[in-house]
């Protein structure tokens, strides 16, 4: 379906992007204590907008479209919310709001004191990430999406180096270089596409792109660039120090959402802009990289001694699962949408679970003054809610019921059986076992007895523990989704996925 007219309520899409932008501008102008207040006002409003868009797409089973400035593509730029964008936006909004609540304690600005660097910067960057992500999921123009990606990068990198230690500066610099490499490759693909097809509008491209060398090279370059930003194995080197080095709320957003932004664009590219290009081989290549990530990330996570690094390596592994979407939907049976739904559920449940885990890790580190897993004994008596949150989030990573992760992995397994591609199932099962290994490694220590009396550094507030728990519960609640292809996630998709690929 080519979006050619602004639909009713399409203005919500503009608001979803502009609201955080307005927040950034006001925060910069006002400064001081206003920065946090502005965020606190805008977060719930943004959540309501995201929920409204989600509700409308669900109710009408139809994409929302907005033609910016009234100039139609290819001259102008369109925004489009289909099923996956709506779901992704709602997930983003929930995680960002939770992060905002969680960060209040850490990044507050006391009355009367001069501006605090970390607090001023954090809130603006949080809003920056939000507007970047919303543009990424709504954009329908490849260059507009490039600007959105940069928006995301420029908000994410300073978050990594916010603490200012030399390790985090190094991590941020490495992240920056990877991200620049990624965006420039993406742009290279864009120029090839414009040169060959004369438009950058995704909906228009879907009808024009044919399997031919220029399309293949453009798609490969863009995919490579986006993979570097998604940190898919073997381009993952930058992720662990970056995600582990950021302050806990920052890590939560980076791991739960930011890497998914570039993944989302890979899906847009292969399924929406160039649906005719996906074939068995390309699906297998992406799937193999994903499998490598699952095994490699999980094994390395098991070998970590620090909690935040463990969680960061687990992110690498969990991102790997997402890439099973590609091989498992490359065929043309109607069952394809099982893998489609499974993959997206994996994305959403991982977002909630991982944000919750990083928050829990932050709370544990604050309580103990360190995050060495070996010395966690007895922590469950001090901050039981946090440990429960970590455990529930862990269920989802392992894929144990009841959890969103279980439904996601179950659907993906089902798809491997239906597609006859059993080899992915082996990887998933091994990955699940390894995830169980590292989650229980942490829980085992946390639930065990203290070898020495615990020295507590800072008490943490109950409210922040509850935020972490709520996100973990969101991941669990996703487990109530029926075990079947979701209709919402297919809104705006070609009738049956893969039909064009034949």
């Amino acid at each position: 379906m080519i979006p050619d007219q602004t639909t009713a309520n399409g203005y919500l899409l503009v608001l979803a992007i502009m609201l955080p932008v307005i927040g950034i501008l006001l925060s910069l102008a006002a400064g001081g204590r206003y920065v946090e207040r502005i965020a606190m006002v805008l977060l719930p409003v943004g959540l309501v907008i995201a929920a409204a868009i989600f509700g409308l797409v669900w109710r009408d089973q139809q994409s929302l479209v907005y033609i910016v400035g009234g100039w139609h593509p290819p001259l102008g730029v369109a925004l489009r919310a289909d099923g996956i964008s709506a779901a992704m936006m709602l997930t983003t909004a929930i995680v960002i709001c939770a992060t905002g609540l969680f960060a209040r304690g850490e990044f507050g600005q006391p009355r009367g004191s001069p501006e605090i660097r970390a607090s001023q910067v954090f809130w603006i960057l949080l809003l920056g990430i939000w507007s970047g992500l919303n543009t990424v999921v709504l954009g329908d123009d490849l260059f507009n999406l490039y600007v959105a990606l940069e928006l995301l990068t420029f908000a994410a990198v300073p978050l990594v180096s916010l603490k200012g230690y030399k390790e985090t500066i190094k991590a941020a610099l490495r992240y920056m270089l990877f991200a620049l490499f990624g965006s420039v490759l993406y742009l290279l693909g864009t120029v090839l596409i414009y040169g060959a097809y004369g438009t950058l509008d995704i909906a228009m491209l879907s009808g024009r792109v044919h399997p031919e060398p220029v399309a293949w090279i453009a798609a490969s370059l863009m995919t490579m660039g986006l993979l570097a930003k998604t940190a898919l194995f073997p381009l993952h080197l930058w992720l662990p120090p970056a995600h582990a080095g950021a302050p806990a709320p920052g890590s939560a957003v980076l791991s739960a959402l930011v890497v998914k932004g570039s993944f989302f664009l890979i899906v847009r590219l292969w399924f929406d802009a160039m649906p005719g290009l996906m074939n068995f081989a390309s699906g297998q290549i992406l799937g193999t990289l994903g499998a490598g990530a699952v095994i490699f990330g999980s094994v390395l996570a098991l070998r970590q001694q620090r909690l935040k690094l463990l969680i960061a390596y687990s992110t690498i592994a969990q991102i790997g699962y997402l890439f099973f979407i590609f091989p498992l939907t490359a065929g043309n049976e109607p069952w394809d949408s099982v893998a489609w739904t499974g993959g997206w559920l994996q994305l959403f449940s991982h977002a909630f679970a991982k944000a919750s885990m990083f928050m829990a890790a932050g709370l544990i580190a604050e309580t103990l003054g360190h995050d060495r897993i070996a010395e966690f004994g007895g922590i469950n008596r001090v901050i039981p809610i946090t440990v429960i949150a970590f455990g529930l989030a862990g269920l989802s990573l392992m894929g144990v019921p009841p959890s969103g992760g279980f439904v996601a992995k179950w659907l993906l397994l089902l798809a491997t059986v239906m597609e006859g591609q059993w080899w992915w199932a082996v990887v998933m099962l091994v990955g699940g076992l390894l995830a169980g290994g590292y989650v229980f490694m942490v829980l085992g220590k946390a639930l065990g007895n203290a070898s020495a009396p615990l020295k507590l550094a800072t008490p943490v507030s109950r409210a922040r523990e509850i935020v972490a728990l709520t996100l973990a519960l969101c991941a669990v609640l996703l487990g109530l989704v029926p075990l079947q292809p979701s209709e919402l996630l297919q809104v705006g998709r070609p009738e049956v996925l893969g039909v064009i690929a034949r």
């Binding site: 910069l28 910067v121 928006l151 200012g164």
Partner: protein, 313 residues
């Protein structure tokens, strides 16, 4: 082969040679100098490609501001950037092969469909009258794809926040650590007194003429930024503390007005970032004028770097 074409070939070889030089130069200072020359040559290449707007941008930003930024960096690194571990031969070979393949693929593919030569030029020209601007590039930037331009302003501001975020905690709100020229009696002071009036006029002219001819807010803003930096380096104007309210307001005034005009489009025109037919030109000029100012301040502060001096109470 016509003589101009032979000259062009020589020109392209020169560009590539300097690009190679930039990458292999042993001293960082040499590499940066070569890069600045490279930026200016690229600007000429843009003129050859009939893209004067881009040439102006490239000359101002690619040759000018980037060069200044990198020279400042080299001065601070004091040539001690270290040699690092050069990758081994297998890596070099693999990387080399990959890059040659990419280049070859691009060279053959970018013009692989000469029979189509897709272009939006006719569509732009058809709608130019409606856009109220005479310069087609400006029409794309501020009318047809105004949304990109707006978001890019936000990118610029986020980059500035990112740069500021690297300040030490105690210096937040303080004065950026721009390197100032030490000798007050220097001829540089004379230049900083003589040039800014002319430069500011050129900056404003570039933005003003940009509506109809090559030029525009970016190019004008860059010239303003350069003048501001010159005056600061020569110590004729103090480097402002980043907590100053007027600096913050200057940073956001352009984007705020642009957003406001965009939102106004919901009410008075029929879409976000649409301009009502009767007032299109004055609205766009207002947005561009304030954007020129904000871009100038943002670029200047980006080059000035993170604050490193504690704010005076």
């Amino acid at each position: 082969m016509t003589p101009p074409f032979i000259l062009e070939i020589a020109f392209v070889i020169l560009i590539l040679a300097i690009a190679v030089g930039t990458l292999v130069a042993r001293a960082a200072f040499t590499a940066v100098l070569l890069f600045m020359i490279y930026g200016l040559l690229i600007a000429i290449a843009w003129v050859r490609l009939s893209a004067v707007d881009v040439a102006l941008t490239e000359a101002a930003i690619g040759g000018g501001l980037t060069g200044m930024l990198l020279l400042g960096a080299v001065a601070r690194l004091r040539e001690s950037e270290g040699s690092g571990e050069e990758p081994g031969l297998p890596t070099l070979l693999a990387a080399g092969t990959l890059c040659v393949l990419v280049s070859a693929a691009l060279g053959t593919l970018v013009l692989s469909r000469p029979e189509v030569a897709p272009s939006l030029a006719p569509m732009v020209m058809d709608n130019l009258a409606q856009s109220a601007l005479g310069n087609p590039v400006a029409a794309v930037l501020f009318v047809f794809r105004a949304f990109d331009t707006l978001l890019e302003k936000v990118v610029l501001l986020l980059a500035l926040i990112g740069v500021w975020s690297l300040a030490p905690d105690r210096a937040w709100g303080g004065v950026p650590g721009l390197r100032l020229y030490a000798e007050p009696s220097s001829i540089l002071v004379f230049l900083a007194q003589l040039l800014p009036p002319i430069g500011i006029m050129i900056g404003i002219y570039m933005f003003w003429t940009g509506a109809s001819y090559p030029g525009g807010a970016f190019q004008g803003g860059t010239v303003l930024a350069a003048m501001w930096l010159l005056v600061m380096i020569a110590r004729l104007q103090p480097v402002p503390a980043i907590s100053l309210r007027r600096i913050r307001l200057l940073l956001v005034v352009g984007p705020v007005i642009f957003v406001a005009i965009g939102l106004l489009g919901f009410v008075v025109a029929d879409a976000f970032l649409a301009y009502p037919a009767d007032y299109a030109k004055p609205l766009i000029i207002t947005a561009e004028a304030t954007l020129t100012l904000s871009i100038g301040v943002t670029l200047g502060l980006l080059v000035a770097g993170p604050p490193d001096r504690i704010p005076q109470p």
